[in-house]
Amino acid sequence: MMAKKQASAKSTPAARRGQLPLEPKTMTDSSVGFDRDSGMLLGGGATRHEFLMNELSASELVQAIATVPPALDEEEMTRVEIVGAEGQHGAMMRLDHPVKLRVRGTLGDYAFAFNAQAIAKVFGDVGHGVGDGMLSGSVRVRGNAGHAAGVGMIGGTLGVYGSAGDRVGAMLRGGGIFVRRNVGNDAGSGAISGTIVIGGDAGENLGDARSDVSVFIRGQAASLSAGVTEAPLRKKQEVQLGLLLISAGIRGDASEFRRVVPIAKLEAEKAARGEVVPNWR
């Protein structure tokens, strides 16, 4: 990603509602899901805060967001608008605050690394390593993501409604990643736990024989890693995936997906007549 100007911003209270750009009028299935509750951000009675990314450093921005009082009602999280996103690296890293964030613009590398609690939506593209080490909460990206989206995630959900680069979900340790369109090579390499859902096609070396991650793919993979194979979904996985797709706003049936699984694990499953064998290696 290009080197960007230092993140900076100005905090203003909620009163700039009318200045925000309008939503696109044409919506695909993914953007319907993406924007399902975004309308609530523009209306409703919840307190809204706005920060400009042009006058604060990355750490100052996180500190400023952390000063926003959380909502008393857990159902109605405090909303925060971030404007002035121009590809700054390291944006909102280590944010640990229960707010709903909406970012307008493009973010650089390592956006929302180690995010906890925050529910974020990015109306633009993101660079490499989005959601690196994320702990909880969710990050949804309306555009495309660079390489290693969700690398080392421990929990939470990362959604990319465009395409993602190579090594999606590499070293995944927990949580879930879904990519609406295509992913690059080596998706899921080194992943040890969690879920990766690929709505489109994948590049070379999908999956990992040492991995215990659940990889679901709807399109085609250019190749699978050594020691993994494709298999149909089990009933329980179909239900889980169906719920995930509904939550992500992705149209389609879980039965359209196949899972990519280590051969050793598949054989252990078969040997146990359907029951998952934890120690399959």
Binding site: Y110, G133, H147, M171, I192, R210, K265, P278, N279, W280
Partner: protein, 371 residues
């Protein structure tokens, strides 16, 4: 103690010349971050690869804190030292912010920061076991760019190690209970130039730490020039991964420093992991251009001692020794000798500091040939 660099002599002041003792604290130094902040390093000694897996987490923590209490920087993750969410002795605050003049001051904000025991966070490519809290209070983030073998010779992590780091649910071992292979380059780094962004990310996550890059000894010319492109705050070279003779080790340390000079990085700290080492050899490596030296052979012996001292009772696995006292007794002489020898090390180039009676050593290291 095996003196691998015995043919090298630490040169005393010449006769008929005036000599005065060096600075009062010859062992303390600081690493400069690009943002201008300075990370203090109390002692040029560190414990790079502790075998924490051999000890229960609570005992590992006590040993780590005891070694760090001797001002030797200790490499550890929280998950190496912690069973549940108990407080970790190694990560405790030694001096709260603002309560003492000695507490560190942030160069940018003039805000005083608490002082922690000297700790290094290993940032492995795979991040298994890493928690975001591992960045807090660390003095060094060690970005391990090339993979290392485990004790069994594999380029992999053992099931026990993975279990310690990842704490899987009972009866659900990580990745089905097998070895998990290491990786060879960070998945989120697409080029050496972009690695600089990665290091900046780590600096933001660890605002009190210097970010050092560590590499193995096998492709030094290529890897040092590559690593320096990413503008780290220093380099760590893991010479212990090769079985080097003393002559080879000394020559390689000298060569690395020359390579760094050639890349206009002569001011960057160079930390070396030499394998078995004596106090005298530590100082000789510093005279050759190292800024800090790993003393794993001293500290891993302490792990052996703790293991041997464990009670045989299945119900009481506490060691029968006082770990802090044992550590102090074991390390005090070695550390004091390092401090003592360093206090006599003259300023100047290698030939001013080191001499040898053996021509091959003089050629390899640039030491003065003594006749």
């Amino acid at each position: 103690m095996n003196h691998r660099l015995a043919p090298l002599q630490l040169l005393p002041p010449r006769a008929f010349t005036s000599w005065s003792p060096g600075q009062l604290n010859p062992v303390a130094s600081a690493i400069k971050r690009p943002d201008g902040a300075e990370v203090p390093v109390q002692m040029p000694l560190f414990w790079y690869q502790p075998a924490w897996i051999r000890l229960q987490p609570a005992l590992a923590d006590r040993l780590a804190a005891a070694v760090a209490g001797q001002d030797v920087m200790v490499s550890a993750l929280r998950r190496d030292l912690q069973t549940e969410d108990d407080p970790i002795e190694l990560m405790r605050v030694v001096e709260p912010a603002g309560e003492d003049d000695a507490s560190e001051t942030d160069a940018q904000t003039d805000v005083q920061r608490p002082i922690h025991l000297p700790r290094m966070t290993p940032y492995r490519i795979e991040r298994y076991g890493l928690l975001v809290e591992d960045f807090d209070g660390a003095q060094v983030i060690d970005v391990r760019l090339s993979p290392s073998r485990d004790g069994s010779g594999r380029l992999a992590y053992s099931p026990d190690q993975m279990s310690r780091w990842e704490r899987p649910a009972e009866n659900e071992p990580v990745s089905g209970g097998g070895y998990v292979a290491v990786s060879s380059f960070p998945p989120d780094v697409v080029s050496l130039k972009q690695l600089a962004v990665k290091l900046d990310q780590l600096r933001m996550l660890a605002p009190t730490a210097a970010v050092l890059v560590s590499i193995g000894p096998f492709h030094l010319e290529e890897e040092i020039s590559s690593a320096l492109v990413s503008q780290p705050d220093g380099l760590i070279i893991r010479f212990d991964e090769a079985r080097l003779s003393g002559l080879e080790l000394a020559g390689q340390v000298r060569r690395v420093r020359q390579l760094m000079d050639e890349h206009q990085a002569g001011d960057l700290p160079l930390w070396v992991v030499p394998g078995p080492i004596s106090a005298d050899d530590v100082v000789k490596l510093i005279a050759l251009g190292a800024n800090a030296v790993a003393v794993d052979s001293w500290c891993n012996a302490l792990v052996d001692q703790v293991v041997e001292s464990m009670s045989a009772s299945a119900y009481d696995r506490l060691p029968v020794v006082d770990i802090a006292a044992m550590t102090s007794a074991a390390l005090w002489y070695e550390i004091d000798r390092v401090v003592g020898l360093l206090s006599t090390l003259p300023a100047g180039d290698v030939a001013t500091r080191l001499g040898t009676f053996q021509p091959d050593w003089a050629n390899a290291c640039g030491a003065s040939l003594l006749r």
